[in-house]
């Protein structure tokens, strides 16, 4: 064999060895300074991330002697990254999950069953009696508990007080139902510059707030909680959807979808173009510079029936953790901190201290707590995301865009949606 060939072989072998050895040492260490490492996947923009580090992860790490929590911040495409990590066998030990995905992840065995661990602890964040039942229900699947919520936001009504004053309309109160809401909205919808086009609107919708709120307020359910059957064609459901769409097409107190899509949904409210906006209790709309915003409860439905939508997100433990007890201990520390940072906390004793955790929400605290008593979440099931997408495409969006009667589209949409519930 030629000398050069031997040289090339040796060079290649040396390089290959170097490659393998350095690759084996690559990647995050299992322990850091002798401590167990727990990766915590989270979402959030820049400000949120900073607060999470300062108020949750930093203090937990400062107190910890035998572990360290490392944030895995995923600013966008959260699900893609999280699912890739799980499917790739490198799941983060702790992670956020939006409520509509809990059943899906639980059904596929990606979440640690916390039922026994929570029951054995039973204190603080593990005292299930403290939680709002409607929110906690989202984190159960097949009778088992797969996570705990770290926030439970009811939808509340943000009102531009200056526009109400200018329009001579009284601010909303608990006596408001659909009728008063529509009357006020009409009075606050105006062509302020007399150019023939409305430029101030009483309200705004674009698929948010969820039409389910109207359905619940009308005494109906989209998916029956007991039987799991679809109720889309029930008259009470279609009437509620028609009432929702009428805000745009009949009463004309909300702008068309095309205007909303480009001007920006919340942005129109922040620009002072919309008098009433339904948003999450934790939203910062009431701190918009240059606006005087008050927070009220959403109007009741016919017969004074109160219901509002609750959005929650949970903290979960990966089913792949090697030591569930140790991971759960870290989980609980993190959760307790988050409950005292993000408002509204999903636990009644902590919701009562809302002003303490977020002083800027003090003026709205009573409204938020009152709303939490009747907030509701959709029925959770493994194909919920697909169901919500098809519900929006096949039923809700065409109605909002064209104003067609809900009863006309309901049968066809029901045929598409029912197979997802089986």
């Amino acid at each position: 064999m030629r000398a050069s060939t031997v040289a090339y072989c040796l060079l290649g072998a040396a390089a290959a060895v170097g490659l393998v050895v350095s690759a084996r040492r690559a990647g995050p260490p299992e322990t850091a300074e002798g401590r167990r490492l727990y990766r915590f996947a989270c979402w959030g923009a820049a400000q949120e991330l900073r607060e999470l580090k300062e108020r949750v992860v930093g203090p937990v790490n400062a107190e910890a002697e035998d572990f360290r929590v490392e944030l895995v911040h995923i600013p966008s495409d959260y699900r893609t990254k999280l699912c890739t990590m799980i499917a790739g066998g490198t799941p983060p030990e702790l992670f956020y999950l939006s409520q509509e995905y809990v059943a899906t992840f639980a059904a596929q065995g990606a979440l640690l069953d916390l039922t026994e661990l929570v029951a054995q602890d039973g204190r603080g964040a593990c005292d299930l009696k403290q939680y709002y039942p409607s929110v906690l229900a989202q984190y159960r699947h097949g009778g088992r508990l797969y996570g705990l919520p770290w926030i439970a936001q009811p939808v509340v009504l943000y009102c531009n007080a200056r526009l109400f004053r200018q329009g001579g309309v009284a601010l909303p109160d608990r006596s408001w139902g659909w009728q008063k809401f529509v009357q006020a909205g009409n009075a606050l919808t105006r062509d302020t510059d007399q150019d023939g086009r409305m430029d101030q609107w009483g309200f705004i919708v674009n698929g948010w707030p969820p039409v389910r709120m109207w359905i619940w307020q009308n005494g109906a359910e989209l998916v029956d909680r007991e039987s799991g059957l679809l109720r889309l064609t029930d008259p009470a459901v279609t009437q509620a959807v028609d009432a929702y769409a009428a805000l745009i097409h009949r009463h004309r107190l909300a702008p068309p979808l095309s205007v909303v899509a480009e001007a920006g949904f919340a942005e129109m409210f922040r620009a002072g173009k919309v008098a009433m906006f339904m948003g999450g209790a934790a939203d910062d709309l009431d701190r918009t510079p240059g606006l005087e915003v008050v927070v009220r409860e959403v109007p009741a439905g016919p017969g004074g029936r109160r219901a509002t939508f609750a959005w929650s997100a949970g903290l979960h433990v990966s089913a792949a953790v090697k030591d569930p007890r140790a991971a759960f201990a870290v989980y609980k520390k993190i959760l307790e901190r988050i409950h005292r940072w993000k408002i509204p906390a999903p636990r009644r004793p902590l919701a009562a201290r809302l002003e303490e955790f977020e002083p800027r929400k003090a003026p709205a605290a009573a409204v938020i707590r009152s709303s939490m008593e009747y907030m509701r979440t959709p029925v959770g099931f493994p194909r919920q995301v697909e169901f919500d997408t098809l519900f929006q495409e096949e039923f809700e969006e065409p109605i909002l865009r064209t104003g067609r009667p809900a009863a006309e589209l309901a049968p066809r949409a029901a045929r598409v949606l029912e197979r997802l519930l089986r």
């Binding site: 030629r2 390089a15 979402w43 893609t80 990606a110 095309s258 942005e267």
Partner: protein, 616 residues
């Protein structure tokens, strides 16, 4: 230590390069020992890196996705074999599949035809000899380097029905104002118009190069025979351009049918804006039905393969391959128009330039706006006073200096690796005849046809098996094993223009194939290499999904991830559009600067890489 992460990646990059080089040399020796011809041994040696990368990062993941297409796979759990249920569901009339397929086919057909027309018209305008032509070419080309995400956001605002720029101009002209992205009848046309912004990029350059290479004597002969302008265009120009049209037709169809990024940022009514690959992404990554998504991807692959084959087969009737190989006896010298026609020509060039520049101007103006003016109705081009502080605020809102360094580190290393690998592979295909060469080249082009989204998980598993998830390596090391199909294609075309006599003379003098390649071919190929460097750098600079999937620590993040910090999708925090546009503007600067500095070499390189027909 942070510095350790960079050094480790650099070390492994160097080691891998050494391993690849050794493997190439050893393969050549081995094949020669087995009595193979020198040309066969050299050919396989040069394409070895691409072959290894093909098997590792393409074929194996593709086979895996093919298997998954016959399963019910929710990503988070193990696949369950369901035989052909997924395909049966698709082909028996999944209404969403049909809608997405029809939308995508309509878009692809329109965008290809109009895109080729627009790029040809732009090339015709800019092929004339006139003062300042170089500057106009830059103006027409630069918008094509804007990231796809920015393009989508910009055109959303241009097409705002009430007071947007497009409808404002139409109203001023007394024309009807469509709803664009908000009217189901106008969604597809709006996407097609948006796609034309990129038509004056590389497509125009390649047309321009070919136009300037048409022999002037052909036109003179036509004039002497009494042919008018249209007749000369139809019987001389078009046939001479036919190979380029063929190339744009194939690449345009593939690009149109694989449209992904822009629809993800534009919400259209109902399903009027639902395209095939976004539907595939939604099915796999939002609804977690990856088995079905894989089946969708293979249906698309089959359709693309059939379409491409049809175009290739029919091309023999209308593509003049003989003409494309004729070297111009003297360059075509179309004279600049005179008189009133000169004025019309100037007006047309100026109008086209304005159309090209408007999205750029809108991007910059948004970056300087006050937050309250972002959604002013009607939209404002300028906000007063300007707020350049947006740039400072955006940069300070996240560790962008670190992100910038990480992006440069990844982009430079990956560009170097990919360019070298592409050059080696292209040289192997261009210069050596070895068994299965044509089939392998076909496979190389075929890898363009499968959406990469369904390969995410198997490729991730590979990198995890190597122990390299959480490092820069998945973004960098793979560049040494493949080079990219487009880059290989471009360089192969260029290498084929180089006279073989140079290499033969060097070989007779005792130079090895490696020495010929590095000391002769590469230096002669500088313009084409520059084209590949620019395209590759741009791709890595704007890459988002790769960094998102493989980087876990904020200190490792790149600019594209940092940009998403301003989206504010959660918890009621409003998106900071002005900051996003500020960072986007900053991100566009490097690629624009590189192009401005190297544009002469770039156009020269593009001219030499123009397609010459499908003959391998």
């Amino acid at each position: 230590m942070m510095g350790g992460a960079y050094l480790q990646t650099l070390l492994r990059f160097t080691c891998l390069a050494a391993v690849v080089a050794s493997a190439m040399l050893l393969l050549h020796r081995l094949l020669r020992r087995l009595r193979c011809r020198d040309e066969t041994a050299a050919g396989y040696a040069f394409v070895l890196p691409w072959l290894v990368g093909l098997v590792t990062f393409s074929l194996l993941p593709m086979l895996w996705s093919l298997y998954l297409s016959f399963t019910r796979y929710g990503v988070l759990s193990q696949p369950q074999w369901v035989r052909g249920q997924n395909y049966a569901a698709i082909l028996s009339g999944d209404p969403i599949f049909l809608t997405a397929a029809v939308n995508t086919a309509a878009f692809a057909a329109l965008s290809v035809v109009l895109g080729i027309t627009a790029s040809l018209m732009a090339a015709l305008l800019l092929s004339l000899n006139a003062r300042g032509m170089g500057l106009w070419r830059v103006v027409y080309y630069v918008p094509s380097v804007i990231p796809a995400v920015s393009t989508a956001l910009l055109w959303r605002w241009i097409f705002v029905p009430e007071g947007g720029l497009a409808n404002g101009l139409l109203a001023a002209a007394g024309l009807p104002r469509p709803g664009w992205f908000h009217d189901p009848r106008w969604v597809i046309p709006a996407f097609v118009i948006m796609s034309l912004q990129g038509a004056c990029g590389n497509n125009m350059v390649i047309f321009l190069a070919r136009l300037r290479g048409i022999d002037a004597q052909l036109y003179e002969a036509g004039v002497m025979d009494g042919a008018g302008v249209w007749a000369r265009f139809r019987h001389i120009t078009l046939p001479q351009l036919s190979p380029v049209v063929f190339y744009h037709l194939v690449t345009g169809l593939v690009g149109g049918l694989l449209l992904f990024t822009q629809p993800m940022f534009i919400r259209a009514p109902g399903r009027s804006g639902l395209f095939y690959v976004p539907y595939l992404y939604r099915t796999g990554w939002e609804e977690l039905r990856m088995g079905y998504a894989c089946a969708l991807s293979w249906v698309l692959f089959a359709a693309l393969a059939v379409l491409t084959a049809l175009v290739v087969l029919t091309s023999r009737r209308w593509v003049s391959y003989e003409a494309s190989d004729v070297q111009a006896l003297e360059p075509s010298r179309a004279l600049a128009p005179r008189g009133i026609r000169r004025g019309l020509w100037h007006a047309a060039v100026l109008a086209g330039a304005l159309v090209m520049l408007v999205p750029l101007l809108w991007m910059v103006s948004t970056s300087l706006k006050q937050p309250n003016d972002l959604f002013a109705i009607p939209p404002k081009l300028l906000s007063w006073p300007l707020k350049p502080q947006n740039y400072v605020d955006a940069w300070r809102a996240a560790p962008f200096w670190r992100f910038l360094f990480n992006t440069l580190f990844v982009a430079v290393l990956a560009t170097a690796g990919q360019t070298l690998s592409a050059a080696l592979t292209a040289y192997g295909f261009a210069r050596f005849r070895f068994p299965a060469r044509r089939a392998l080249f076909g496979v190389l082009l075929g890898t363009l046809l499968l959406p990469g989204i369904v390969l995410i998980v198997p490729v991730f598993l590979l990198w995890r098996a190597f122990g390299l998830v959480g490092t820069f390596d998945p973004l960098v090391l793979g560049s040494l094993l493949g080079g990219g199909a487009l880059q290989v294609f471009i360089l192969r075309q260029f290498f084929r223009t180089l006279p073989r006599e140079l290499e033969e003379a060097a070989r007779l003098d005792g130079a090895s194939h490696a020495r010929v390649f590095f000391r002769m071919i590469l230096p002669l190929s500088w313009p084409a290499v520059l084209v590949v460097v620019l395209i590759t750098f741009q791709g890595h600079w704007n890459d988002f999904l790769g960094p998102l999937l493989y980087l876990n620590r904020e200190a490792h993040y790149t600019m594209t991830i940092g940009l998403r910090y301003f989206e504010g999708k959660f918890m009621g925090e409003a998106p900071k559009w002005h900051w996003m546009m500020a960072v986007t503007t900053l991100m566009a600067i490097p690629t624009v600067l590189i192009f401005l500095i190297a544009q002469r070499s770039f156009f020269q390189g593009a001219a030499r890489t123009r397609p010459r027909g499908p003959t391998a």
